[in-house]
């Protein structure tokens, strides 16, 4: 009954074009934000923050980035892990080379560096399309991981080849390193996620986003009606990599603290984020969050049920996890190829008519 546009009169174009046209959605959105920012940090314990909330926020950024490239601009990328590695290693180099730099600048600059690298690897997309491009982005993935493994300058000649985040503060609170409080880390990630999601949402419904979607739907037709494919594709690559780079930087500085490039940013990571985007829904901001939440939650739930409840050995649960993830992907594609976001959209449509559907 509450879920209606009736009585909610729009008196300006801005009000008419807003993201949440229904008052209920708007209020829900603000309540959710208030809960996430004002309540959660004070009640959450270390386990839940580190196992669920922080990885969820970080993966959501990466999924947003990939969704811009694949969902909005239609360029399939399997190089996400490699770009995350660029973000992580540039934040490490910035933190160690300029110890006075604050974390916000470090994170944003790492994003910019990754955007540059993404631009470079996006160049072939002007000639190569579809699957050929997907395979070409694998070149980025493998080359970048190899580079960070082989060139000692990137890991400051440390003996183990690992990088580990030094301790940094923000507003007098310890943000990185082993002494950081997880509530502070959570709030930092949350602020960045909110800013980036707002950015992505407004980008995708403006001129740039419409150009991307035109390129996605049919690039030749888009070119004929005056969309410059060079600019559209490269801007998608750059902005997507910016998001992915920030996610990689946070993944290293906030979430893991110490990183070995092969295990943290291997090809598996690229696939994981691609799955988030697909299960969540291609071409949807909400979908990126839903997909990230789903795939972060799934292993935790499986572990709770398999190891703690049924008492199976962890190896079997790990294999079972593969089966479940694979099965779920197939299931989702068969039932709803447009992902969780489409299910959510259908639910909202039904809700608007409830309880009198005719």
């Amino acid at each position: 009954m509450l879920y209606r546009e009736a009585g909610d009169f729009k008196t300006s174009y801005a009000a008419d074009a807003q993201t949440f046209p229904l008052a209920f959605d708007r209020w829900g959105y603000w309540v959710l934000l208030a809960l996430a920012a004002l309540v959660v940090p004070f009640v959450v314990n270390d386990y839940w923050a580190n196992a669920l909330l922080i990885p969820f926020l970080i993966y959501a950024i990466a999924a947003l980035g990939l969704n811009i490239l694949t969902g909005y601009c239609g360029q399939v990328s399997l190089g996400t892990g490699g770009f995350m590695a660029v973000g992580a290693y540039s934040s490490y180099k910035l933190m160690t080379a300029f110890p006075w730099m604050d974390m916000v600048s470090v994170t944003l600059l790492s994003g910019l560096v990754t955007a540059g690298v993404g631009l470079l690897f996006g160049l072939p997309s002007l000639r190569i399309k579809g699957f050929y491009l997907a395979v070409a982005t694998l070149a980025a993935q493998f080359f970048l991981v190899w580079l960070f493994n082989r060139v000692p300058w990137f890991y400051n000649y440390s003996a183990s080849g690992q990088i580990s985040a030094p301790e940094r503060e923000l507003f007098g609170l310890v943000l990185t390193g082993p002494n950081a409080a997880s509530a502070v880390q959570y709030l930092f990630c949350l602020a960045i996620v909110i800013a980036l999601a707002w950015f992505a949402r407004n980008l995708t419904r403006g001129t740039v986003g419409r150009k991307w979607m035109a390129i996605r739907d049919m690039d030749i037709a888009a070119e004929i009606i005056g969309v410059n494919p060079l600019r559209a594709k490269l801007s998608a690559f750059a902005i997507s990599s910016f998001f992915v780079g920030i996610s990689g930087a946070l993944f290293f500085t906030i979430y893991l603290g110490a990183v070995e490039v092969n295990s943290a940013f291997g090809i598996q990571k690229s696939f994981l984020i691609l799955f988030m985007v697909i299960i969540g829904g291609l071409g949807s901001i909400f979908g990126s969050f839903a997909g990230a939440a789903f795939l972060v939650l799934l292993p935790v739930v499986l572990k709770l049920v398999g190891v703690d409840l049924l008492g199976w050995p962890t190896t079997i649960v790990a294999h079972l996890q593969l089966v479940v993830v694979g099965g779920l992907i197939i299931f989702f594609l068969v039932v709803e190829p447009h992902g969780l976001a489409q299910l959510w959209r259908l639910t909202k449509e039904k809700l608007r008519l409830w309880p009198f559907p005719h």
Partner: protein, 336 residues
């Protein structure tokens, strides 16, 4: 310099042999892509699954033994018999055909008319699923696969080249056998698609789905057929790779190596898969030899090794910029 040249020749020859292995995997990709437009990422995992099933049947393992033991507290592992290699291979072929049927019945029949990218995602899901099932069924430890293929250095080549050049080439017997089997396999596939009724139907489907349907060819049957053939190719590849380096998870990663092979050769061309495999095999071995570990030009460039991880992709990428459809691929014609 002549010594370096001899080394380089040996490296190139071994690269050629490795290329045959890549081609074997790429072949399965091309078959499915031509017939159904599905880019089957799961081909590598199918090879792993086939090889694990073969070993499991050969050694009489109980499927899902670990899970059963963990759930019911029992301690079972083997049935206590060993199957002869030929019987095990036949049974594995049966399993792969059943898999082909199930994949079509439960996945791709529901995804007809979806975009190619959705189909591709479905095969990635299938790859995860199969990998998990294979590990659950047969256990994830590294297994030795032995179906009686000859292995070790080929002494005849070693001695002959030694008498001619004064330096004996090292070439593995297994690689030679793999090359011969790959040649037979391709010849068999060509004969099948040229001279049999089903083969002709298969080519018709590859050309045009709707036209094939309208002259009475059953798409479902053809798809099951082509997935079965791809399963068989995967089994052959699995046997070769398994005999070479043991049956283990990394086997499924050769699928990733087969991708640049496909890009070079073109997704729709069987000869392309062969030639692409050979180019990639020779190219990456020579590049590693020359620049990766710095053996050519007096160690002029030394990148510190492990260039094999990315060289194939970068080569394919550079190549595609000049010829976007690959060496033998169909020319891409786009219309509005």
């Amino acid at each position: 310099m002549p010594e370096t040249f001899l080394f380089a020749t040996e490296v190139a020859l071994n690269g050629l042999m490795a290329g045959v292995m890549y081609s074997l995997v790429a072949l399965g990709f091309v078959l499915i892509f031509k017939a159904s437009g599905i880019f089957n990422y799961a081909q590598g995992v199918m090879a792993l699954f086939a090889a694990m099933t073969l070993v499991g049947i050969q050694q009489g393992q109980v499927p899902f033994a670990h899970a059963i033991n963990a759930t019911f507290g029992t301690d079972i592992h083997n049935f206590g018999w060993q199957a002869p290699a030929l019987l095990a291979i036949l049974l594995t072929v049966g399993v792969m055909i059943a898999l082909a049927w199930a994949v079509n019945r439960y996945i791709f029949r529901h995804l007809v008319n979806q975009e190619p990218i959705i189909l591709f995602m479905a095969t990635i899901g299938l790859a995860y699923f199969l990998e998990g099932i294979a590990d659950l069924m047969w256990g994830s430890e590294i297994k030795r696969l032995d179906v009686g293929l000859p292995q070790g250095i080929n002494t005849w080549i070693d001695e002959t080249t030694f008498t001619i050049f004064g330096y004996g080439f090292f070439i593995d017997n297994l690689d030679i056998v793999a090359a011969i089997i790959a040649a037979l396999l391709v010849a068999g596939l060509v004969a099948f698609s040229q001279y049999t009724k089903q083969g002709r139907a298969l080519r018709a489907v590859a050309d045009d789905h709707q036209a094939a349907l309208s002259v009475g060819i059953s798409l479902n049957f053809i798809w099951v057929l082509v997935w079965s053939i791809a399963g068989f190719v995967a089994l052959v590849a699995g046997i070769m790779w398994g005999a070479k380096s043991g049956v283990q998870f990394s086997l499924s990663l050769i699928a990733l190596k087969a991708l640049p092979v496909l890009m070079l050769g073109g997704f729709t061309s069987i000869p392309g898969a062969i030639v692409g495999g050979l180019i990639i095999g020779v190219g990456e071995k020579l590049f590693e030899f020359c620049f990766g570990i710095g053996q050519c030009f007096g160690g002029f460039i030394n990148l510190g090794g492990a260039t094999e991880n990315w060289f194939a992709y970068v080569l394919a990428l550079a190549f595609l910029v000049f010829r976007p459809q690959g060496l033998f691929g169909e020319k891409i014609i786009e219309r509005v």
